[in-house]
Subunit: 348 residues, 2 copies
DNA sequence: TTGTATGCGTTATCAA
DNA sequence: TTGATAACGCATACAA
C-alpha cells in the first residue's frame, strides 16, 4: 500500500501497527503495554516488548499529544534569556518541570509587548499545557486578551495583572528588600539617596518605591525630590541616569540600582567620572551576580534566590495543570540584604 | 454526537470542520484558504475568513504537525542555560529560528552525559525538526548512538564528534585567540604562564592548548611544565587550580582562564590571597562578561560574539532542514583579544 | 476552483 | 484480558 500523499521520512520509522503485526497482537494491546495499563498479562507484555525492541520502535509524541489532548510542554516567554536573572529563573523552572515530565518551550520577547501577544497566541496554537511569562508590559491590552483566551494555566513572573485573575504569580519581597537597603543607608547617615529602577507600571518598581518611601516615612525624614529615575532595566538607562545625578550641583551620596543590568550602567558612569563606590559614593544594587561579588569593592546587594523562584513558578503551574479547580496563588520569595563594602558611613 | 471518550477541554475549541459548516463550504477548502493555497477564489477566501473570525477559530498545530510530518520546533540541549555563554548563544539561535517560524525547545543537561542521551531521545520522540547540542562529553557512546538515530539535522556547539559526520558544527577560533593572548603575555616578558581550562577531551580545550603551545614553540621557548590545569569549566575548579598555582615556591606570573566561570573562581582565589591582577599577576580570561569589563582593573579577554554564534548555528541548521542533501558544514567564528589593564609588563 | 475521502500514529471505548 | 474500531484535527490526492 503506497503512500497516497507526499509525506514520509526516511521510512525507518516504526509505528505501533507494525509492532502489533510483528508481535501477532492487536494494535490496542501494544498501546496498553506501552502505557502500563493494569490489565495486561505477563505473556502479552513480553511479546510486545520483544517486538518493540526488535523493531526499535519509538513512540510518536505528536500523535500521542493529539489524541490525549495534552502536549506535556510548558511555554516560557521572557524578555531576554541572556539576562542572568531570567536565565537562572528559567533553569529553576525547567529543572522542576523536567522532573514532572514536561519540556520547556522558550521564546524571547525582546521587551516588545507586541511580541508577548504574538508568542502567547503561538503557544496557544501549539497547545502548551501551561505558560510562564514575564510580561514586557503588564497592561498591554492585546497581550492580556491573548492570555485570557488561553485555557491552560498561567504563571506570571514578577508581574501584577488584575485583569488575569486566573493566573498564579511568583514574585519577590522587593518592598522589604529595598526597605532594608534604604534603612541601612539611612543608618549610615545618607539622606540624599537616589533610586534608579525599571518602568514605573511594573510590579518590582512599584514595590521597590513602596519600600523606599516607607523607610523615609518611618523616620519622618522628607525624601529629597527628583532623586528617583524610573524607566527601564537596561545598562544604557542606568548609565544615563547615574551620569545625570552625579553632574548635579548637589549630587546624591548614595545610589540604589534596580537590576544587574542597571548596575552595569551605573558602574560605567562611575568609572568614567573617576568615582569609586564605597569611597566616593555608596551603592546598592538588586540581584547578586559575579560582578557584584567580585567588584572592587564588592557591591551591597538586595538578593533573591532566582533559581528557587523558577522552581516555585513550576510548582504553581503544575499544581494547576494537575487540578484545574485549584485556585490561583501568589507566592512571594524572601529577599535578603547582603551588606558589602560599597556602602559606608557618610563622613561629611 | 457526544464524545465517545474522555477527551475534550472546556469545549470552546473550534475546528476546521465547524468553520466549514459555518461557511457552507468543504473542510478542505478551509484548509486551503488558511494555508494560502494558490487555487482559491476571492469569494471562497472571504466566506472562510468571515467564518474563521466569527467563530474565533484557532489552528491546532499539533494536528497540523502530525499530518505534515514536521513540528516546526528545534531542540536545544545545553549544559547550563544560566551560564551567560550558553544563554547568549541560545538567544542568538532562538531569534534566528523564530524568524523562520521555528520555536526552540530547551533542556539543561546539567553537565551530565546521561542526561544528554536521555534528552536526545526525548527530542527524537517529540519529532523536533532539528537539534542544537553542546555535548557534556563529546565521546559518550550512548549519546552518540542516540544522536545517530536522529533523522533530523544536528548542529554541534563547540564540539568535535567524528562519529557524527552528518552533524554541522559551529565553533570559535580558540587556537588563534589563545595564541594571540599568549603572544601578548610573552611580549610583555612573561614566561611562567599558567593555563586553567575545561575538560581535556573537549574541542575548546584542545584548540586552546594548541594555540598555547604554538606561541611558545614559535619563539623556541620551553614552556614550564606543570603549569597547565585541565578539568572543568566551573568556578570551584578555577579557584582550586589558581590557589594551588599561587602557593608554589615559584608561582606563575600570568594566568589564562578558559571561561567566565573559571574567571570567577580565579578572582576569588586572588582576592582571598590579597593579590591584584594587573599588579601582582597578569590575567587573561575567555569570553567577555560585565565582570571582566568592570573589574578593577578591567580584565584582558579573548572575545567571541556568542550571540552571533547562536545565529550561525541556527543558519547551519535551517540550511539542512530546508535541503536534506546539503552537506554538513563547519563554521568557525573569529576571536579577538581585548587588551585591558589586567595584563602588564613583567618588572623583575 | 471546489468537494470527497483518506490517513498521519495514537488512545480510548466498547464488545467479546 | 484482548481485539476491533472510532475518533483527535488537519492536509492532501483525486475526482468532479
Amino acid at each position: 500500500m503506497a503512500r497516497r500523499d507526499g509525506r514520509g521520512g526516511k521510512g525507518s520509522e516504526m509505528t505501533m501497527r507494525e509492532v502489533a503485526v510483528r508481535a501477532g497482537v492487536a494494535l490496542s494491546s501494544v498501546s496498553r503495554v506501552l502505557n502500563n495499563h493494569p490489565d495486561v498479562s505477563e505473556s502479552m507484555r513480553a511479546k510486545v516488548l520483544t517486538a518493540v525492541s526488535e523493531l526499535s520502535y519509538e513512540p510518536n509524541l505528536i500523535a500521542s499529544s493529539l489524541r490525549r489532548g495534552s502536549t506535556m510542554t510548558v511555554g516560557f516567554i521572557v524578555a531576554d534569556i541572556s539576562n542572568p536573572l531570567f536565565a537562572e529563573f528559567s533553569k529553576g523552572a525547567a529543572t522542576e518541570l523536567d522532573l514532572a515530565g514536561y519540556t520547556m518551550v522558550l521564546a524571547n520577547s525582546e521587551f516588545k509587548k507586541e511580541r508577548d501577544a504574538q508568542l502567547a497566541r503561538l503557544f496557544r496554537w501549539r497547545r502548551v499545557d501551561g505558560l510562564i511569562i514575564s510580561l514586557a508590559d503588564q497592561d498591554h491590552p492585546e497581550t492580556i486578551a491573548e492570555l485570557q483566551r488561553l485555557e491552560a494555566p498561567i504563571v506570571l513572573f514578577d508581574r501584577d495583572a488584575p485583569q488575569l485573575p486566573q493566573a498564579s504569580t511568583v514574585t519577590a519581597d522587593h518592598a522589604g528588600g529595598i526597605r532594608r537597603a534604604t534603612d541601612h543607608l539611612l543608618d549610615l547617615g545618607h539622606r540624599r539617596i537616589a533610586m534608579i529602577t525599571g518602568p514605573s507600571p511594573l510590579r518590582p518598581t512599584q514595590e521597590r518605591m513602596r519600600g523606599f518611601w516607607e523607610a523615609y516615612k518611618a523616620r519622618n525624614i522628607g525624601h529629597p525630590a527628583d532623586l528617583v529615575r524610573l524607566g527601564s532595566f537596561d545598562a544604557a538607562f542606568g548609565e544615563a541616569a547615574a551620569s545625570e545625578f552625579l553632574q548635579r550641583s548637589s549630587p546624591p551620596t548614595a545610589i540604589i540600582s534596580g537590576s544587574n543590568q542597571l548596575l552595569v550602567g551605573v558602574l560605567r558612569a562611575l568609572h568614567r567620572m573617576g568615582l569609586r563606590p564605597g569611597r566616593d559614593i555608596a551603592l546598592v544594587s538588586c540581584d547578586d551576580v559575579p560582578l557584584a561579588e567580585l567588584h572592587h569593592p564588592p557591591i551591597t546587594i538586595v538578593h533573591r534566590d532566582t533559581i528557587h523562584m523558577g522552581k516555585v513558578a513550576a510548582e504553581l503551574l503544575l499544581e494547576r495543570i494537575r487540578d484545574e479547580d485549584a485556585p490561583p496563588r501568589l507566592a512571594t520569595v524572601r529577599t535578603e540584604l547582603l551588606v558589602r563594602d560599597s556602602t559606608f558611613p557618610i563622613t561629611v
